[in-house]
């Protein structure tokens, strides 16, 4: 086929090229076929590409509003005080590095499930959840969706919000899982299109999967209000859909872990047997240590045990068992009452700084006399803000003002600080005037 023809061509070419070398070095390279020439250059990842471009920029005023990692008011990465303390404690414990159980340590999975569902959740009491440690949020999404691809008996089609995190459809494509869209963001109001969402969801084929962001929607920052969540829950139930909830920002949105888990807990109360992906990348600043979790609500303990056995097989063939360094810190923080208190205030501190920056950014743009509405900047929640800027305006921000953000107009508010908020406000005003 194509490969054989390509190989034949390449072999002839290689032999031609290698012949002289073979003669002089005495090494006859008989295995000269090039295996890889058919591999095309892959498209660059949009989000990661922004950071690369930012790094190359030498302008002193440059601002990175691309990647979603928290920065303090000095624009520096922030190591949470609770994490620092947890690291000291763990270091003193002198733990070994023996293999973790395939699904992670139970102290970890118990603690993270409690955090998501609430200490007194009947789900946890009945042990009807299958919870495993994963490689942060991405790992949970991949494992959960792969599990669905392999074992789900209903309609293997997933519905994603418009827009959604760039990697959601990518993971689906990797698994050959068909994905479709439901309306979510209302570009007219820069808010939630409840009517559009309900309309679309009510037409989704029964038994399909629907992906929801628990809080601090990425990339829009637009979250449904509690009454709206209830309506979503109802229509999802009517359509017998399987909800897959992605919770990457618990605590980060409003500053309260319980408030931010509202949708998760509402859906649990409403009896949905959903899938949940959790990440501790942002809310504990453990980005590179890859601490996350995947939960499947299975209805009863027996089903949970069965599912766990299959889940383990799937994990085993991907990476065998999870990395413990980050997970140990999470466990320490969540199970040590003092540390947990410290963490809750750390996460509130981060959320509050973001909220403050939103207020200052909006005030700055409005203060410059800009004619457009900017209420959405403070209405939206979490790390990201869908500014409403058009691609050409975004390009101007980058080219003229060295402010880096994604083409869709999404900014990471975490990249805004007291040092640059006025500059960014001024620039946003200029490109929209």
């Amino acid at each position: 086929m194509i490969m054989a023809q390509a190989l034949k061509k390449l072999t002839a070419q290689a032999l031609k090229n290698n012949y002289a070398e073979a003669v002089t070095t005495g090494i006859v390279s008989r295995a000269s076929s090039t295996w890889w020439s058919n591999v095309p250059m892959g498209p660059p990842d949009v989000i990661l590409g922004i950071t690369e471009a930012f790094k190359r920029d030498t302008d002193p005023k440059k601002v990175n509003l691309g990647v979603g990692a928290y920065r303090d008011d000095q624009g520096k990465p922030f190591i949470l005080p609770s994490v620092v303390k947890a690291e000291e404690i763990i270091s003193k414990k002198g733990l070994n590095h023996e293999y973790a159980p395939i699904g992670g340590e139970s102290a970890y999975t118990d603690a993270v499930a409690k955090l998501a569902f609430g200490e007194d959740s009947p789900i946890l009491k009945s042990k009807s959840n299958c919870t495993v440690q994963t490689l942060s949020g991405t790992g949970a999404l991949r494992l959960g969706l792969e599990f669905v691809s392999k074992h789900y008996a209903k309609n293997k089609e997933i519905w994603l919000s418009t827009p959604t995190w760039g990697n959601h459809p990518q993971i689906c494509n990797t698994l050959n899982l068909p994905h479709k869209k439901y309306r979510y963001f209302d570009a007219k109001t820069n808010g939630f299109d409840l009517k559009g969402a309900l309309e679309d969801i009510s037409k989704i084929p029964e038994g399909s999967i629907i992906l929801l962001h628990a809080c601090a929607h990425n990339p829009t920052g637009v979250d449904p209000r509690p009454e709206e969540w209830k309506q979503l829950s109802e229509v999802i139930k009517q359509r017998k859909l399987l909800p897959f909830i992605d919770m990457a920002y618990q605590g980060f949105a409003t500053g309260s872990v319980d408030n931010d888990a509202f949708a998760v807990r509402q859906f649990a109360d409403d009896g949905h047997q959903f899938i949940l992906a959790q990440s501790f990348a942002k809310n504990m600043g453990l980005y590179g240590e890859r601490a996350g979790a995947l939960t499947l609500l299975c209805g009863d303990a027996e089903s949970a045990a069965k599912i766990m056995s299959q889940m383990k097989i799937m994990i085993r063939t991907m990476y065998s068992n999870p990395p413990l360094y980050g997970a140990r810190l999470v466990t320490e923080i969540l199970t040590n009452p003092q540390l947990k208190q410290q963490w809750l205030s750390d996460v509130k501190l981060m959320a509050d700084r973001i909220i403050t920056m939103r207020q200052r950014l909006r005030a700055g743009i409005e203060g410059a006399g800009n004619k457009l509405p900017w209420q959405h900047v403070t209405d939206q929640i979490g790390m990201f803000c869908f500014t409403g800027l058009k691609p050409d305006q975004v390009e101007r921000l980058t080219k003229e003002f060295h402010i880096y953000l994604t083409k869709d107009g999404r900014i990471s508010v975490a990249g805004i600080s007291s040092n640059n908020v006025d500059y960014v406000a001024e620039a946003m005003h200029k490109v929209t005037s």
């Binding site: 490969m3 290689a14 892959g42 070994n96 991949r142 590179g288 240590e289 299959q310 990476y319």
Partner: protein
């Protein structure tokens, strides 16, 4: 409402973890765990390498160390050091820019990413593994999209050696572009490695049949105690001009089992393909876990990047591999002393963590039930589970099992 997942059947337990569970729950005082492949010291305890402790303490005291995301393909200096360690730092393929590495989730993660690359981008569907091999190889490749699993003969039960003619015969019939999984050294589970001459012949047939080598290097340094000697096979194939991939694990040789530290080394014949390959690997990783965990890779990178620390680490591997060799000698000596039926030379001829003892499933069952000695049904034991305190006990038990359930009358292997 019943669960949506009611249709999901209970999956079979993974033997080695099941075994570990039974061992943990066993309250017998003199129980011995010869199951899972992790190093144990002479007191039967896990051993955190002193260099690792030292490095972790240094990292813990470093206020400037952050937890930011690593690049998708991991820590570059980690990968560079890993590739050098595997191929030899002066290997021409490195200086020519046609060998590179990407950080992965230990050996398993390496195998998975490599298999995904070969299946999705080169469209390879056939793969071969030794009979027997590490139990996870099959499913890793199948779950990566490979559809034609095949075996090549390897372990000759009667001779307790490699069935080399069988191996060559099987590979001679392999279709072009079949991916062949080769254990770089310290074959798991048999402990028998091909000789250099045999490796050369394997390379000959693979060259002729245009087969693709996928090396699994989980024990570099652990087999002979010498990093370069343990990499001989991989380097030979590279010298011969093969393009290949190699999954590297730091679980055993650095004792970093639970931090999931690994590297996938890729050797190409043309450096022009490095960039496209890296970009495709980036997509594979992004769709699986976005970027790898930082902690373990930093430990390894810091050690490998410093000459003094690297030497200190070499000392640790020598210590571990020496203890293993010592215990092999000790076990054989005890078995001979007891007049145990059979020839036990294979115990010392084999290399690495494991020994394929040749015990039958019935004999293994007896060891577990009667003597609280835990090993796999296949007769595989982890030599590290032996120490001066228990080797006599284990030898006696083996003797007992063989005497009570002679191999000749045993058809339980047929049930394996």
């Amino acid at each position: 409402m019943g669960s949506r997942f009611q249709v999901v059947e209970q999956g079979p337990p993974i033997e080695v973890f099941q075994l570990n569970k039974l061992f943990t729950e066993d309250t017998f005082k003199n129980k011995v765990n010869l199951g899972v492949g992790a190093y144990r010291d002479e007191n039967g305890k896990p051993w955190v390498l002193p260099i690792v402790r030292k490095m972790e303490k240094k990292m813990a005291d470093d206020d400037t160390l952050l937890h930011e995301y690593l690049p998708v393909l991991g820590l570059e200096n980690f990968s560079n050091s890993s590739v050098s360690m595997l191929l030899g730092e002066d290997n021409p393929v490195i200086t020519e820019g046609r060998a590179f590495g990407v950080q992965t989730l230990s050996g398993t993660g390496s195998l998975r990413v490599g298999a995904e690359l070969l299946n999705k981008h080169l469209k390879y569907t056939n793969f071969y593994y030794s009979s027997p091999t590490w139990e996870n190889h099959h499913l890793v490749f199948v779950n990566s999209g490979f559809t034609q699993p095949r075996t090549y003969r390897y372990w000759d039960e009667k001779a307790r050696a490699i069935d080399f003619d069988g191996l060559i015969e099987d590979l001679s019939k392999a279709p072009e572009n079949s991916v062949v999984i080769l254990h770089a050294c310290a074959h798991n589970p048999t402990g028998i490695d091909p000789t250099q001459e045999q490796w050369q012949k394997i390379a000959d047939v693979m060259e002729e049949r245009k087969l693709f080598p996928f090396f699994d290097s989980a024990y570099q340094g652990f087999a002979t105690g010498d990093l370069d000697r343990d990499a001989w096979a991989v380097r030979h194939f590279v010298k011969r001009g093969f393009e290949l991939v190699c999954a590297q694990s730091y679980a055993k040789n650095f004792g970093l089992y639970n931090e999931r530290v690994g590297n996938l080394t890729i050797v190409l014949s043309d450096k022009a393909h490095v960039a496209p390959l890296k970009s495709q690997l980036t997509w594979i990783v992004r769709g699986m876990y976005s970027n790898p965990p930082a902690h373990g890779a930093r430990v390894v990178a810091n050690v490998l990047g410093d000459e003094k620390l690297f030497d200190e680490w070499r000392g640790h591997i020598k210590l571990m591999s020496s203890r293993v060799i010592e215990m092999r000698e000790a076990l054989r000596a005890q078995l001979i002393k007891l007049g145990t039926p059979g020839n036990w030379d294979h115990i010392v001829k084999q290399i690495g963590l494991f020994s394929y003892t040749g015990l039958t499933p019935r004999q293994c069952e007896h060891l577990i039930q009667e003597h609280h000695i835990y090993l796999l049904r296949s007769g595989r034991i982890n030599i590290c589970g032996l120490n001066p305190g228990n080797v006599e006990y284990v030898a006696r038990a083996i003797n007992d099992a063989i005497v009570k359930f002679p191999a000749k009358d045993d058809d339980s292997r047929a049930k394996l």
